[in-house]
Symmetry: C2
Subunit: 190 residues, 2 copies
């Protein structure tokens, strides 16, 4: 997992994977069929790890939106750490393999959709708890939130200063959670 995150799929050699796993080529091929099979397994593990981490951020002990803010701040810290093992394997694989491997693209897209769906449910919860206007569209908000996180992660790769990245995250959180529903008239201007 971390090997693929550091160098990307294409540039990670069997020698790298040998070092990373402690297994010899024969064992890797026995267990995972191919380098690609190992990537699929890594994606599976990544999904499991991230799901678990996600749930830890939402124990329901504080306001949903407050927990969401902490979650977003955690992502900012990951970006700032400049540690490749804290990057998102899903977006990395998506950027590298889109339009080259339909099956992997499908798996990655499904995983990201699952993440987005979890966030949609958070907003639904927030509505029930009265933290969010029931007028807002939870699915749209979740899509906008994940789009913002994608943007944040890419922006972070240009090595901005910490407070700049945090400011962008704060703005994103504000736009998602505190913005009144936009007037239709403004949106249709073209």
């Amino acid at each position: 997992m971390t090997a693929f995150m550091h160098k990307g799929y294409g540039k990670t050699s069997m020698q790298d994977l040998k070092k990373a796993t402690g297994l010899h080529p024969g064992s890797i091929y026995c267990a995972f069929d191919s380098k690609r099979g190992l990537l699929l397994a890594a994606l599976g593990q990544y999904k499991k790890d991230r799901n678990s981490e996600f749930n830890d951020f939402f124990p329901g002990k504080a306001a949903v939106l407050t927990e969401l803010k902490h979650y977003l701040d955690h992502i900012v810290q990951e970006c700032l750490s400049c540690d490749a093992s804290k990057a998102c394997l899903l977006t990395k694989a998506l950027n590298e393999l889109a339009d080259q491997d339909d099956e992997i693209q499908g798996i990655v897209t499904e995983n990201l959709a699952g993440w987005q769906q979890s966030i949609t449910m958070l907003f639904e919860q927030a509505k029930v708890k009265g933290e969010l206007s029931t007028q807002r569209d939870s699915e749209h908000l979740a899509r906008y939130f994940v789009m913002g996180v994608y943007g944040l992660r890419t922006f972070a790769q240009t090595h901005p200063k910490a407070h700049v990245l945090q400011q962008l995250a704060d703005q994103l959180y504000h736009d998602v959670c505190y913005e009144p529903a936009p007037k239709i008239a403004e949106q249709v201007v073209n």
Copy 2:
């Protein structure tokens, strides 16, 4: 340029480049020193092309923010076309080569900073023309806008429906151009 955009730098072979340029390996090495040199040249050409395209979108014949909306809608169309040659070579190179080639990362980061700077100047113009509150921070708005575009481009690779992507772009435009300055109290909650 388009060859690198389709397969990424690493997966683009000399044979691909031979087909794409119509030159034989010897000529390519004579003119560009190496495959990496050809990428540098492609980045230079890309910058030139995109700068020219950018300027075409802002002739100053309409409101600055209206021209910006058209520009954003154009980006959405590029994303929806699913044509790899309409992707952003800069973000693609950034995602692939970050933390692997410092010089290229630097060049890409500079180019993206230049683009962001151009957008900052648009907001400054908009303030002068009275289209935008002088209270707003042009640099912050520009950063948020480019972050949104990064996010939009990544989101597009999960192949969402056209109206979903357009809705996200509309929201981004709204948040950047019509949002009142957020209250400090809301931003510092943590």
